[in-house]
């Protein structure tokens, strides 16, 4: 592929806690994300996945290392400047959806546009459009409490892509979902990467998600320990021999 990275992370280190409780959660991670790819970040619990995702998402500042997003260095930016980077380039999906319980589906999407200054008819029609894209055209005015978990996560996906970010970051997006809904959400993320040419990074330790990946990055104890890529030209979800390939490498 002829793509230039939308995100480059270089030698990221993150220390959490202090004193005796100091934990080095991320120990020198370098990672690039390119458009059109769904990357999975896999690793055991406590391996630093969420911490790394927070740093790549400009939500947490690294202790050291540097990050470029769309060719802009974001090191040393203030909290408000980082918020602007998130508005301009990033979409987020969370394990527990994090929808606003008092807003209905369309309003939950609209608010992500509202914080970006997109208001009125443009915001409403765009929100409808993305909700239809994720298959929720019939649930526009439902409140989160009247949506299934899978539907709620799809609202969250719609919210993440409403502003057309170049990068979508998801933390354990299927962990709270049953198998069917988990597959639906992964298929959606894969489609977002391919059809909308975005770069999607999903943190997961759910093996069911493997089939959707273009690339799998393995993390253990704060370090990247392996990376596999789906062979060119093969794009059926059934081709999941990525794990096998890894074993061969090992």
């Amino acid at each position: 592929m002829t793509t230039t990275p939308v995100m480059q992370a270089d030698n990221i280190v993150k220390e959490l806690g202090a004193g005796a409780g100091l934990v080095v959660a991320v120990k020198g991670v370098s990672l690039e994300l390119v458009p059109g790819e769904l990357t999975l970040l896999m690793g055991p619990s406590g391996s630093g996945k969420t911490t790394l995702l927070s740093i790549l998402g400009c939500i947490m500042k690294p202790t050291s290392g540097s990050i470029r997003i769309a060719d802009t260095k974001i090191d040393g930016l203030s909290a408000e400047e980082l918020a602007k980077v998130r508005r301009d380039h990033l979409g987020f999906i969370f394990q527990s959806y994090n929808l606003f319980p008092t807003l209905n589906a369309i309003e939950n999407v609209r608010i992500a546009l509202d914080v970006r200054g997109v208001k009125g008819f443009a915001a409403t029609s765009r929100s409808e459009e993305v909700l239809r894209e994720v298959g929720l055209g019939h649930r526009l005015t439902n409140y989160p409490r009247n949506l299934s978990g899978g539907e709620q996560q799809r609202v969250a996906v719609a919210r993440a892509i409403a502003s057309s970010p170049s990068i979508v970051l998801a933390d354990e997006p299927t962990a709270a979902l049953d198998s069917e809904n988990g597959h639906a959400v992964m298929a959606l993320l894969s489609r977002i990467a391919k059809e909308q040419h975005r770069s999607v990074l999903a943190v997961t330790h759910d093996p069911r998600t493997l089939g959707y990946a273009d690339r799998v990055v393995r993390i253990e104890d704060g370090r990247i320990v392996g990376e596999e890529r789906r062979p060119e030209g093969i794009d059926s979800p059934e081709i999941t021999d990525l794990t096998k390939r890894r074993k061969l490498h090992a």
């Binding site: 508005r87 008092t102 807003l103 914080v115």
Partner: protein, 376 residues
């Protein structure tokens, strides 16, 4: 979306909203009643001065209020005033406390006001029975209908004793209340002097009208020099002197203003408390907003909108109750007063109270760490 989210947050917890609104409502009612009483008292205290047909008022030296002038000014002062350049007319006015003996026995006090209808100095207003002409009749007097029972009379035609003589009620007014609770009784200049046993040139005040084009400050200064045993005041100055005497020397005004301040403090504390706990409950949503890229200002706007919406709802409810109390007090001896100005300032105060209340919530969200969005 800011208002939508703010409103939904408020409606989300009805009990807390009720507490917030009751807090604001109590504040508004308390402040409205206190300031309404203050305004009502002020109007009562200054009504006669405001109604006096004068540009400048000559009082005895150091007179503290409208009721406190004595009967010390005489022809000498009147002629000196008349001889002052820029003075067009000088009308004497008699005002003094007098004992009122009820026809059925017992006594109380009135403030006797003597002024001639032809002089147009200070005449009773709001007449509901009789006319200013009727007051010219021998022994005639006008009192306010509010105080009939206190004066031990039933209405027109009844007689009583005021100071040294007999008086007969010939006219009734409505709405002339007295802050001292001694009703005003209007009669002619000479009848007032007779009743009070004063010489027939004596008066409490001299109401000075200026000639067209005369400069009020210069005439005031000039009169002041000529009348060395008197004070020469504008109406405004005399009104504030009277207010100072009755509202501040007596402490009544301070109690009213203190009550108003206390009311707004209590309201602020209640609203601050509920807004803070609401923000705490919704902190995860605010963190999500922040993670989605909202600026800090956007979140402040949501909190301020919550405060503002509470303020508007609380104000409307509070004003409705304040106006009801106002309506119920209309015939009491101390009616509340509400003016568009006071209503406006109450609204400004409510908004200010709620904005101050929002501070603790704003401090809380300022400390939000958006990284907490992943920790659930």
């Amino acid at each position: 979306m800011v208002f939508t989210l703010a409103l939904r947050n408020l409606l989300h917890d009805r009990v807390r909203l009720a507490v917030t609104l009751i807090g604001i409502l109590f504040s508004i009612v308390l402040v409205a009643v206190q300031l309404g009483l203050y305004l009502g008292s002020s109007r009562m205290i200054t009504a006669n001065i405001a109604r006096s047909n004068a540009d400048l008022i000559v009082t005895t030296f150091g007179a503290k209020s409208f009721e406190d002038g004595g009967l010390l000014l005489g022809d000498r002062e009147r002629h000196q005033a008349l001889a002052t350049p820029g003075v067009e007319s000088v009308v004497p006015l008699v005002v003094a406390f007098a004992e009122w003996r009820k026809p059925e026995g017992g006594s109380s006090r009135v403030v006797l006001i003597g002024s001639d209808a032809d002089d147009q100095g200070l005449l009773p207003w709001g007449l509901i029975q009789g006319s200013v002409e009727d007051i010219k009749a021998p022994d005639a007097i006008a009192v306010d209908s509010t105080y009939l029972s206190e004066l031990g009379v039933n209405g027109i035609g009844d007689t009583a004793q005021a100071a040294g003589g007999r008086v007969k009620i010939r006219a009734l007014t409505e709405g002339i209340r007295s802050f001292t609770q001694s009703p005003y009784a209007y009669t002619t200049l000479n009848r007032a002097r007779q009743l009070l046993g004063a010489d027939d040139d004596k008066s409490t005040f001299l109401l000075v009208k200026l000639a067209p084009g005369a400069n009020i400050t210069e005439v005031q200064k000039d009169l002041g020099h000529r009348l060395d045993s008197a004070d020469v005041l504008t109406k405004d100055e005399f009104e504030s002197r009277s207010l100072k005497q009755w509202l501040f020397r007596t402490g009544a005004g301070l109690a009213l203003i203190g009550g108003a301040i206390l009311g707004s403090l209590v309201g602020t504390v209640i609203v601050a408390q509920t807004l803070y706990s609401s923000t705490k409950d919704h902190i995860h949503e605010f963190a999500t907003l922040r993670a989605l890229g909202s600026s800090r200002g956007y979140i402040y706007k949501v909190i301020l909108a919550q405060a503002g919406l509470s303020a508007i709802m609380g104000y409307v409810l509070g004003m409705a109750i304040a106006l009801l109390i106002l309506y119920l007090s209309r015939n009491s001896s101390l009616p509340l007063v509400m003016t568009p100005g006071l209503a406006f300032w109450l609204f400004a105060l409510t908004l200010f109270m709620c904005a101050i209340s929002a501070l603790s919530a704003i401090v809380k969200v300022t400390k939000i760490d958006p990284a907490t969005v992943f920790a659930r």
